[in-house]
Symmetry: D3
């Protein structure tokens, strides 16, 4: 089976129970997540092999994070156990007009302090078919930007497909710095994925007639955005998952894909949200699955979109769905009738 390598940070996620706000909490639900780990997890749920690369402290909290990936079948044998602490993010669930809120406490995490020689990429890429990371990884530290670049180069040398989710995070770096680093890295990327505003933030390419904070998205405008990015970096594919936020409880989801020849658009879904985090990661894992399993671009896009939709009905960062569940939705059964 083809193996997908995902590289990034795995954080401890601490959330108040139910819809409690941070200042009302007396317990935290424990989850673990991170953009690339979420992708790796989705893939094993689709019966694929995936390996997650990170660095975690060798205490019980770091071990618990590793264990959680292992529980669901991700290959964790290459995770480096060393360093000071695990990154944390506090996550408060929104509802109606009240947004979900995230507080990061990820500075000085083991992975952000990692060094070039913590990872042996030649060994890691042995037998691998795909390498995935997001823009968060190089944003964590200068070291990681360098490691990312190194990994991309090694991947290309090994004829491995490279995908990158732009995932711009303003808390981690400025648009200017992101632009500089990502411009360099993108030369080694084959498949670039972005949400409704990443490309504008990182590369300054804006979709017209779109105002995400007022729930207005012009899908057609993403065609030229995708074309511009694709040609700028010699990518083979650009995909955007586009979220219209009606409220914290209700979103509309649709995705587009451009492969240099044709512009594809998925069905649009009305989504009632159980957990807002990880939708983009699930979209990305769905896309990788589709492309590695010989689906057509339209099919892969529909699969990815349906996967992203289903994620919003699931607690935690991870998308706990099977291929048949995604395909059932992608093929048009969105009735949610009881499965007995």
């Amino acid at each position: 089976m083809s193996n997908v390598i995902c590289f990034g940070e795995l954080m401890l996620r601490l959330s108040p129970e139910g819809y409690n706000r941070f200042v009302q909490a007396d317990k935290f639900d424990i989850n673990y997540g991170g953009s690339e780990a979420n992708v790796a997890l989705s893939l094993v749920n689709y019966n694929m092999n995936s390996t997650f690369i990170t660095k975690l402290p060798s205490n019980e909290i770091g071990q618990s994070a590793l264990n959680k990936l292992r529980q669901y079948g991700v290959n964790t044998s290459k995770i480096k156990m060393d360093g000071e602490r695990i990154g944390i993010y506090y996550m408060e669930k929104g509802a109606s007009q009240r947004p979900s809120k995230v507080i990061y406490d990820r500075s000085n995490s083991a992975i952000s302090n990692a060094n070039l020689d913590d990872f042996n990429w030649d060994e890691i890429f042995n037998n691998a078919k795909w390498f995935h990371f997001s823009g968060i990884t190089p944003a964590l530290s200068d070291n990681l930007a360098e490691i990312c670049l190194e990994a991309c180069k090694k991947a290309k040398k090994n004829n491995i497909t490279v995908s990158c989710d732009l995932n711009y995070r303003s808390k981690l770096w400025s648009e200017k710095k992101a632009n500089k680093v990502m411009t360099q890295i993108m030369n080694y990327v084959d498949v670039c994925v972005a949400n409704e505003e990443d490309i504008e933030k990182v590369f300054g390419i804006k979709a017209e007639d779109t105002d995400v904070s007022h729930g207005k998205i012009n899908y057609d405008s993403y065609k030229s955005v995708a074309e511009e990015v694709l040609s700028k970096f010699n990518l083979s594919m650009v995909a955007c998952n586009l979220r219209t936020s009606i409220s914290a409880s209700d979103n509309k989801l649709l995705a587009v894909l451009y492969d240099g020849n044709k512009f594809y658009q998925s069905k649009e879904y009305d989504v009632h949200i159980v957990d807002r985090v990880g939708g983009g990661d699930s979209f990305l894992a769905g896309l990788i699955y589709g492309l590695l399993n010989n689906k057509s671009n339209q099919e892969a896009l529909e699969f990815a979109t349906a996967a992203g939709v289903l994620k919003h009905s699931i607690e935690g960062d991870f998308n706990m769905v099977t291929v048949s569940e995604v395909e059932n939705l992608a093929s048009g059964d969105s009735s949610g009738r009881v499965q007995r």
Copy 2:
């Protein structure tokens, strides 16, 4: 007060907390339920007498199941305590486009292994006015099919009204076997209730212009379905509760009733779902209540539909609502304003 006898299986229901999927669960909420027990429970909430007949193992788990019915006032004095185990069903709550999911572990339950002489129907039917069971009961085992038939005959001999909810379960028997067994039993039934697809599965009579997996239901087409079933078995009444599944979170509910003379249709409701299970059972209990309390057919149908609607706002299998709560909704107040 008139007494209603309900006969069937009572299962231990194990559900992950909240919207967790099975593979995410670390606790199970404990509930008990089963189609006929749910009917019995609804009826005592309407201040009627109901008696539940089943067989449960005489260990603490079986006792806990019995206790739960007793807590809410169902007469459990005729339950046979013996046999190996209680049937279990694992229940995962769906949301948005992700369906609820049920895993059954009910083989070799005490009730499915019951024998003819476990139940003394003449004694059970003493002072009874109504006998109810669903198609699940005869589907559990050949023994139970035989016991069901025996009970129906005894009921008719005692001038007791017999109702049957078709409740086709493909995990328990084939459409062919269901057809054979139910055809025999239906000769003793007065009131037949079905959902949007039971009649097609059991008797091969299909509603036209209806495609339930794509959320399309043609209410009018159920008139001829009802007429055909009613005349085939010399029933006094056929009622169908029809669910249009928008998603796992949102359904539309409406019911129709045919009494040999006239075709009745209830109001339609938009329902936000807290717990998907037991809506049909609540409809049925509402119908029995209405008919035994001298409501007109239209009133009984509206009461039954409103009862089924309210069930979806309540956790567990049981419909914990009062007559006045149902009547308040049936009479048009669906505003859900706080009751202080």
Copy 3:
């Protein structure tokens, strides 16, 4: 900083977990609330000074109630600790067509048995700018009606603005008695707030074309209602927050305000409800905040309405939101996008 004095009952609120009905509960979530305490709490969340006046029993339950206010920063130093018991209200969360339900057990609470000399209003009003209470306070007992009147007089003597939320509670007094007591008190009130039916209940002034139990509200009709009340009592302002109840899960909210010169109307919001209680109190606190912070009447009304909207997304009686969160919504961003 200007200080707001709020006077009323603080109750222990006991709610079954999640959507369980009372008869299904095995645990109660503990919250504390009461109309005027809720206002005081909102105000400290807006970084204002507020002081809550009440009487609580000097046992651990009374102390826990005081502690909860103190946790969030309300000044509790003037609370009288004495008397028999704390009032309790049991609160069951509704969903879809099933209403939320409240059972009161507040008789003989410490505050309802309070005497005139339990409170030294001159000392309490030292440095205060605003005095707030609701119609619940005088309804608790004849003693309290007298204390309320006394407090109002002292407030006016100290040039303190007085606001009153009519908050009619039929369990506490008749419309006739409410009319008599409130008519006397209103002479000392500057700002009167009411919901869609309070004014009719207390003063017999009905909004035309409005039928709240069937979800029909004619906003325009509240203009004449407000005019009539304002002129009747020489108020400086009348505001009504108007709720259209689609179901227990979905409400529409809009508010109107009349200042003797002009009739203002806020934006309307579609609200998905997490917790139904305390919306009016949040509206009121928002209004006080706006007026004390030199917002225009329109701005104050929008701030108050947005505050009331956000409350419905928050568990418990208290509105745990900040000024910037309210202003963000009031200024048009209702997209609920994740805050990272």
Copy 4:
């Protein structure tokens, strides 16, 4: 089967989770209990018939209390549903040197306000063999003292054995008043049960060389105490369950019994405490069971003591143990080895 009638108050018990103190609580575990209800519950666990007589408010909280008794099989058909409120007691679990703590909020409960004509004792005592109440019942109000006396007289007229647990509660009445009321009632009592200090508090008869607050109990001294009480009131039996409190976590338990002829003493047990409440009630139910089932006085005392011991290992007020579990311990197996 012989029927035991128990008469008293059933309260809602609210306890912080685990070992949390009241001021740390954010949830309350819901239990229901009361001295005589606890006796009734124990008896049905021993497969006896018991009927509980009380008055409860006809709201969902009162109904939930009734339901809890019904769940375990107590006959609740004679409970009067009316009145204002259910009595509450807040219960904080102690540990090590920190005592358990109880706060009562039982004034104005439905039962404390009951009237003579709320209960038809002739009907209640039909087919009954035993009538039980504790000193708490007449302490609740003058009305109840009168009702208790009336019930005792009716019981004697019906040749029903009457038992009374002295259960002195200083929060409910003074020693002087208790003495006056109980002296009158004891003339109709056959079996009197007390703990290590009740007899001193109510009848002023002190056990020598005993200082319960310093964990010192002289078992022999209870012989003369029992003799004096028995002869004073012409009782047929006096039993004392004697607790040596090492700490809130560890107690020693032993009981004595005097039948006018002989003084019996049970084995002594070292008990590790899970829940401290209800030990005396369990002792009493064990004694009633033993006496009604033709055990010798020594056997009945051993059964009762073992029952009281086991209660301390069980959460809540109710003693959820079977006859065989009690007999196993009474007969000497205290090893606590796993039952597979």
Copy 5:
């Protein structure tokens, strides 16, 4: 690293929260366990390789069981996913004089219905050093007795050490049948482990002066028991972990070992019990660890005993302790001082 193969049943364990009895439960804590799986789990906690062999149904419940082993690092790649259901055991935690209680619902589990060709032992034993199973495995069904025997023969052919924990279960087979089957199997076993009564139940060899139900164990008498068993079956080692049950909360633990030459005895420990299940399995895993890591017999015995002791402080079936934690206790530090 040397690999240990463990073969047996993995069950879903459902336990009421805290010290609740079954009939009081409203939630079940979910754990998974089984004698041999517990051994496998302990070993990976000691950084050894272990592989668990069983058969589980290919639904989400079976998958969750597998996932739990995988989470902690057990090799689950050889588990057969097929069959009807997972075996269940309900587990109620005892305290003080009240024993823990287990109810089994394991009939027709996937593993009990397994066939010879479900497992390819030659492949399984590739690179293995040790094979372990308990007497529970052959007791599950005749098929499993045959498979066990087959596995033992294959193990011996591959020069793999075989250990067997007698683990007699009277619910699964009679002493007579156990004797017959185990006598045959023991010819292939090297290390036999038993508790204080297994050898008597299975082989009729009784320790003198020992009465386990009254907490009396004569350690010396186990010397002759061990000698007799060892010589009867040509074993290389017999070890007995001996539990003196003071109560369900307090046990004493000590173990003995006989290697054909010398009789070893461990330190004795006073244990306060958090969870009673899995102590013997932890002892066994400790013994395997010690023997495979070149400890002396006395050291291995002390390690195994300390491991068993620590298990009792840990929730669930699995012994979540590290080598250094066990060695710290085995070497004499039982002070339980905080590790910062």
Copy 6:
């Protein structure tokens, strides 16, 4: 009322529920604690004024920490809200022979990065009577060592009594560094408190015949230890609370005090442990209370010891007990009898 100033770090404490180990946790109980905050909290529970000085990040997590102190009445108005993050400690509860375990993640906490000008000591000490800190505070960073020294000097200048709990933490600094820093600071300290090994670690003065890891403590030997420390630094008082650790569940506690003239020893207590953390802080707060309230040295010591004992029965870091509860125990009633 006299005011006590406490200065140190307040951490977020995350603990698995019940006795779960870290790797078994799916929820964390949220508590807040830190040596000096614990002292401040105890003091307000004794109705004294205490003010806590620290620096916390101005996000919701920092605010929640502040709120928790405020809830119980600590003066938090001088807390500096700024900086990166709150320090965290993960806390796993031990039992029997398994120790409690603490993992720190406190680097780069807001307080550890504080600067001299974050605190205005002259203003802070206005009206103060006592200044308290522990050896943890200067160990956090060089900055904090300097701030501590500065604060001590200012305290002395203001005639404020200074107490210091040595509280050596090997994870924060070496014995050598501790010795150097603390030697300087101790010149400004009046009352020095230590546990059974702090003085040896920090000042190299060892108690003879004492081996804490094997539960052996020679109380007499602490006399010369105390004398040596007292004279070395010109202290007015040295107190040691001495813990004999039988197991993680059972400890013995006793304390000694030397005032330059006389050596005092408290009663010894057998303690069953609910939560192991904060015993020393509770002892210290008890001592401050006693000394500020004119108790004799022996009385103050007994009060402090009893306070420390009671802490072990309470969940979390904070000692939630009243003066009367402590005095009741100190005066000899350790029976733990129910308080009704």
